[in-house]
């Protein structure tokens, strides 16, 4: 447990020091890389809540990532063009306020996760993997054919959204926002994993029958976990869209689902801080391997294959021992 704590603190410090050094030495590129890592980590933390704690192998989390992105895109687009999003059943104006956009992103992706979860959780195992994948693709194709918001070309937003008291266009200030959000989410997820709900969820993953025997319904535990998981990943999607000032159907692509899963696995399934380690390593690999060769995905694939075949428990399993059972 102690080793894991040191690793957590080291990671959080590293994620803070790198962009600060980059800021002092005027290298905004590294600040953006760190911001990407932080946002991907949030998406991974979302998935890890369902996958690591609940054992729900969702291959469709791009749906929530994309929904968060489009929540930002659509609200900002309407604020940009001074048109209402819709007028019925109530009037919804566009908005450039980041806080409001986050709220909408969280609510929309939570609702989507509730609906998708309610259907998908009727199935288990490989059916669950495939049905979540299919739901993700459903959003992907819908966003491509929905021409109002750019269809296949996506939707550019000219200025980053506003946060009270900060200049969000300044890379280091936007990084700070994302870092604080990450910290809050980590605290929230840590507390939830220690709560009676979190304990029950992990118990359900390990033995459904015993959980039923003490009077809990695994289905509702899973559904709540899946909804929270989707909401967190949706928030990451809104942050990611704001970072790029652009949303497109690629955010819904199943590659994104695969990548979010990679963050979780690289870091270590079921570790609260695991996805942060995984996302940071992924971004680092993308940057260094991408500099070596145009075809860096070959190396990424080989590395991932090695991790899956020969190591268990990812970075955390390697450095902090295998305290968390991975089944």
């Amino acid at each position: 447990m102690k080793k894991e704590m040191y690793l957590n603190i080291g990671l959080m410090a590293l994620m803070l020091v790198v962009p600060l050094v980059a800021w002092v030495s005027d290298e905004p590129f590294w600040i953006t890389l760190a911001t990407r890592a932080v946002i991907f980590a949030i998406a991974g933390i979302g998935l890890n809540f369902a996958l690591g704690f609940g054992g729900l192998v969702s291959f469709g989390h791009a749906a929530f990532f994309g929904l968060g992105g489009y929540a930002m895109g659509i609200l900002a687009y309407h604020a940009q063009t001074y048109t209402p999003v819709f007028e019925w059943p109530f009037l919804l104006e566009g908005s450039k306020s980041m806080l409001l956009i986050w709220l909408v992103a969280i609510v929309v992706s939570a609702l989507a996760a509730l609906a998708i979860g309610a259907l998908s959780l009727r199935t288990t195992g490989v059916y669950f993997i495939m049905i979540t994948l299919a739901f993700g693709q459903m959003f992907y194709y819908f966003s491509i054919s929905w021409s109002t918001y750019g269809g296949e070309d996506g939707l550019p937003i000219y200025v980053r959204n506003e946060f009270p008291g900060l200049n969000t266009m300044d890379p280091i200030q936007y990084f700070a926002i994302c870092y604080v959000v990450l910290t809050l989410i980590l605290i929230l997820v840590h507390r939830m994993s220690q709560s009676s709900f979190g304990m029950m969820l992990q118990a359900a993953r390990q033995n459904e029958k015993r959980v039923q025997a003490v009077g809990q319904t695994p289905y509702s535990l899973y559904l709540v976990a899946f909804t929270i998981s989707g909401a967190i990943t949706g928030l990451a999607g809104a942050l990611f869209a704001d970072l790029n000032r652009f949303v497109s159907p690629t955010m819904f692509s199943w590659h994104v689902s695969g990548e979010i899963m990679i963050f979780v696995i690289l870091g270590g399934v079921g570790r609260v801080f695991g996805p942060l380690a995984g996302a940071a390593l992924y971004i680092l690999l993308e940057h260094t391997l991408g500099g070596l060769s145009e075809y860096w995905h070959i190396y990424l694939g080989a590395l991932l294959l090695g991790v899956v075949l020969f190591t268990r428990g990812g970075i955390y399993g390697l450095f902090a021992g295998r305290e968390v059972a991975h089944d």
Binding site: Y127, M130, A134, F135, I262, Y295, G301, L305
Partner: protein, 334 residues
């Protein structure tokens, strides 16, 4: 439609009436022909999906493996066919190459990597085969470049044939339907009537037992994997001749094949065939009918866009509906 407020409805009525009248005068049979053509297109699409889904569902049924890299084998088949067609000018050689190269690639990855995954959980299988996709896609891009390759159907299959009721239909697509159905029948016979088929079915039921009875189980696994790979490669070549041969072509088809086997019931060949045809018809007819349906009460451009959006989601809605009623698919009872 009668729920529309009168005013709006009346305003649009004359236009609607005119349109439907033109349709009635000019070609009641015209739209029927179009409909039958779309049915055939859906059937052709479904039959090709079956070639993909059959391998996926066999591999899952016998080895318990979820193989995302199945789409890569489809792509490899198409590229092998395009390369051989360019070198020899023979479509039949190209098809043979697609079968052989995909089967060889299948045997290679089965023996080196896939074999280690049978006993792992589904999460490991998903990730490892996702890694294989990255390697195959980038490797193909590295060898062949990013531009699509050219693979055309042969001259003797170009043009159209006259079917009853005055329907002209593409000979090549009709051949695809024939080939696909023939393979479906062949696969059924192999699995139901031959010794190897008996072993495959026994493997689905009880892996340890057939090992104990002296069947070389790892040989059987390699064979099943190679069979699935060959079928996927063939599908890639056949479809490559009407679409384009390019990196990433396997992925949309892979996901559709997943939808097919989820609908049909994982492990069931019969389910794969019925699921594939259902998905093929739903997708094709959805794209054809939904925009027309919405144009009955929406203006044209909106109707096209709403119809197209819904059509692109139709098979996933179908899948969700099937799973609501039967969580293990239509034929996945066991």
């Amino acid at each position: 439609m009668h729920m529309h407020p009168n005013v709006i409805y009346k305003k649009e009525t004359p236009i609607l009436l005119m349109k439907s009248r033109v349709g009635k005068f000019k070609g009641k049979s015209m739209s029927a022909i179009l409909f039958i053509e779309q049915m055939l297109n859906g059937l052709q699409f479904g039959v090709m999906l079956f070639l993909m889904a059959a391998g996926l569902t066999l591999v899952f049924g016998v080895m318990g493996l979820i193989n995302l890299a199945h789409g890569s084998l489809y792509m490899i088949g198409a590229f092998a066919a395009a390369a051989v067609a360019a070198a020899t000018n023979s479509f039949l050689f190209a098809l043979a190459a697609s079968l052989a190269v995909a089967a060889i690639a299948g045997v290679l990855i089965e023996a080196t990597i896939i074999r280690r995954l049978y006993k792992r959980d589904h999460l490991d299988q998903v990730l490892a085969t996702f890694a294989l996709i990255l390697i195959f896609s980038e490797g193909t891009r590295w060898i062949f470049g990013s531009f699509p390759l050219f693979l055309d159907r042969p001259d003797y299959l170009a043009g159209t044939v006259a079917l009853p009721f005055g329907i002209e239909y593409s000979l090549y697509r009709l051949t695809l339907i024939g080939v696909g159905l023939a393979i479906a029948v062949g696969l059924y016979l192999v699995i139901m009537k031959t010794r190897i088929g008996i072993r495959i079915r026994a493997g689905e039921n009880d892996r340890e037992m057939i090992g104990a009875l002296g069947v070389d189980i790892s040989m059987l696994y390699t064979l099943v994997f190679a069979l699935g790979a060959a079928l996927a490669g063939l599908a890639g070549a056949l479809i490559g001749a009407i679409q384009s041969v390019q990196v990433g072509m396997g992925e949309p088809v892979l996901i559709l094949a997943f939808v097919v086997i989820v609908i049909g019931g994982i492990g069931s060949i019969k389910g794969a065939l019925i699921g594939a045809i259902l998905v093929g018809l739903t997708d094709t007819l959805g794209r054809f009918l939904l925009p027309q349906f919405f144009s009955l009460f929406l203006e044209n451009s909106t109707a096209t866009s709403v119809g197209a959006s819904l059509a692109s989601m139709s098979i996933y809605i179908l899948m969700a509906a099937v799973l609501l009623i039967r969580p293990k698919g239509l034929f996945g009872g066991a």
